[in-house]
Amino acid sequence: MTSTSAATAERLVTLDAPPARPRRRWPFSPWHLVLAPIALIMLIPLIWMLILSLETSSEAQSFPLVVLPSGLHFHNYVATWNSEPFGNFFLNSALYSLATVAGNLVFCSLAAYAFARLKFFGRDVLFILLLATLMVPYQVLLIPMFLIVKHLGMVDSVGGLILPNLCSAFGIFMLRQFFRTLPIELEEAARIDGTSRLGILFKIVLPLSLPALATLAIIQFMWSWNDFLWPLIIIDTASHAPLQLGLSTLQNAHRSHVNLVMAGTVMSQIPMLALFLIAQRWFIRSIAFTGIK
């Protein structure tokens, strides 16, 4: 009994041991000293891109470097826009991204609903096959995918970009997992009322699944918009290229005009950046969602 209280007393003493020095109050959280330099390092490449894109060609390529341009040379953007078919790049990227997002939402929802709720012949074998494809690296598919798209006569076309990416095993799997967490009672009640299965999917299941659908849409959009390897392989004509491929072409064509290359890079990043700033919360939730599942 006494020993315990002695121990407690000792602990209290050691806790208080160095007579409590008045804690120094910082005018701001010391974490700023850690976080501000990190934020700066993360942002410098992007700030530098912006600066170079507004400099003249000789300012951008001089030593010592010109950190503050003599003026804001926005005509770099006009010159870049006119030197490559940038309008086409944007249009092709938009088509590629939106079509694959739409395709994934429709085809993955349909399949995921069947896998989650319907009992049909061969379902489990099919599902295991689907899961197995998730393990295969994209590069294994690349050469045959190219040959198939070639047989379909779709090489060097936006259609050839889109078609193989209209549906993903990842999307089906993710939506199926989500659908299974929904209460089945609502669906059963609707079924008794004579609603068709398609009606149940569109009127009951999908409206309850907006977070999962948003996640799939965002992940697919980010993937298609930033995709480079597949366009690199099947697109030959500049006017059929999506943005990232176009950007790489620009980089090769204008090695001596870094200001123009940077202007193009800024333009190509604006749509995704704007989308991210507007829907930041959704982006972050989607990425966290893929990691936790």
Partner: protein, 310 residues
């Protein structure tokens, strides 16, 4: 309006066979999965098998190939360029995975607090994630340019020697690591932040009440609870690192002197520049097996060491 006659299903009046079939769950199930199955069969299942067959052929992407058995694989085993591509990929992966994960963990802990401006700090860390791989490559190509690059300029101002960076065979691969860590860090931080915010507050308070220091609370309470997130990130980052391509293509094209030729870049060269599609397919299958083995080992170790709540 009169209600349409409801079809009544009794034992005596069974609907015709086609109607029973189309109303059945088997039919509905297949109708729902049909578009997805066709797309995935044509663009995934068939390519997986085809790729295996291609790897047993001499094929130039134009004329029909002919069967050559395991010759591609035997040639790969003796190919010194392939061996060095494997070496570069391993060096890259072994650096990229721990650096990005440990860095992200530290950053996530720093970002997991309520101070003024925290949203700005988080934004700064997340933004590179939405920058495309091609743009990342272009940005770093100029940041690290030996003559006009910002980094050499800073080194010059600090009185430090100038570097060749991506043009130096001894430095290029490390520059690629730094560049891709910059680009991917935000992803890992998001995953860790989500996991940190999922830790119940009372658990941390209980640990502090017991007199544990902040560091030991972190080590014995927080870190084990981050196990599942860490395992996911290790597996995910390794798979991505083994498939590195975009940044290499944009910056070094495998050079200088082949010092950044990684497996997928070598595959691309063989299949789409030298038109050795069979050889490329064999490389793809070797990569596939490697990814599979590494992932399984990681999951196996993870199962023994990672503690899952609930």
């Amino acid at each position: 309006m009169t209600a349409p006659a409801q079809p009544t299903t009794t034992a005596r009046h069974r609907p015709p066979a086609w109607k029973r079939l189309s109303g059945s769950e088997h039919f509905a199930g297949w109708a729902f999965v049909a578009p997805a199955v066709v797309l995935i069969a044509v663009f995934m299942l068939i390519p997986i098998v085809w790729s295996l067959l291609l790897s047993l052929q001499a094929n130039d992407l134009l004329a029909p190939g002919h069967y050559i058995g395991l010759a591609n694989y035997k040639a790969l085993a003796k190919d010194s360029q392939f061996r060095s591509a494997i070496g570069h990929t391993i060096v890259y992966t072994v650096l990229f995975v721990p650096v990005s994960i440990v860095g992200a963990l530290a950053l996530a802990v720093a970002l997991d607090r309520k101070i003024r401006g925290i949203r700005f700090y988080r934004l700064a860390v997340f933004i590179p994630l939405v920058t495309s791989t091609v743009a990342t490559g272009i940005l770093f190509l100029w940041l690290l340019d030996p003559t006009f690059g910002l980094v050499n300029y800073i080194l010059h101002e600090l009185g430090l020697p100038q570097q060749q960076f991506l043009q130096d065979p001894n430095q290029a691969l490390y520059c690629i690591v730094a560049m891709t860590v910059w680009g991917w860090l935000g992803f890992d931080v998001i995953i860790y932040l989500a996991a940190l915010q999922g830790i119940p507050e009372d658990l941390l308070e209980a640990s502090q009440m017991d007199g544990a220091s902040r560091w030991s609370t972190f080590r014995s309470v927080v870190l084990p609870l981050l196990g599942p997130a860490t395992l996911f990130l290790v597996v995910w980052s390794t798979i991505n690192a083994l498939q590195l391509f975009d940044e290499i293509y944009v910056t070094t094209r495998g050079g200088p002197l082949g010092s950044t030729t990684v497996i997928v870049y070598y595959l691309y060269q063989q299949a789409f520049q030298f038109f050795n599609a069979g050889y490329g397919a064999a490389i793809a299958y070797v990569l596939f097996i490697a990814v599979l083995i590494v992932t399984l080992i990681q999951l196996w170790i993870g199962r023994r060491r990672v503690y899952y709540t609930s």
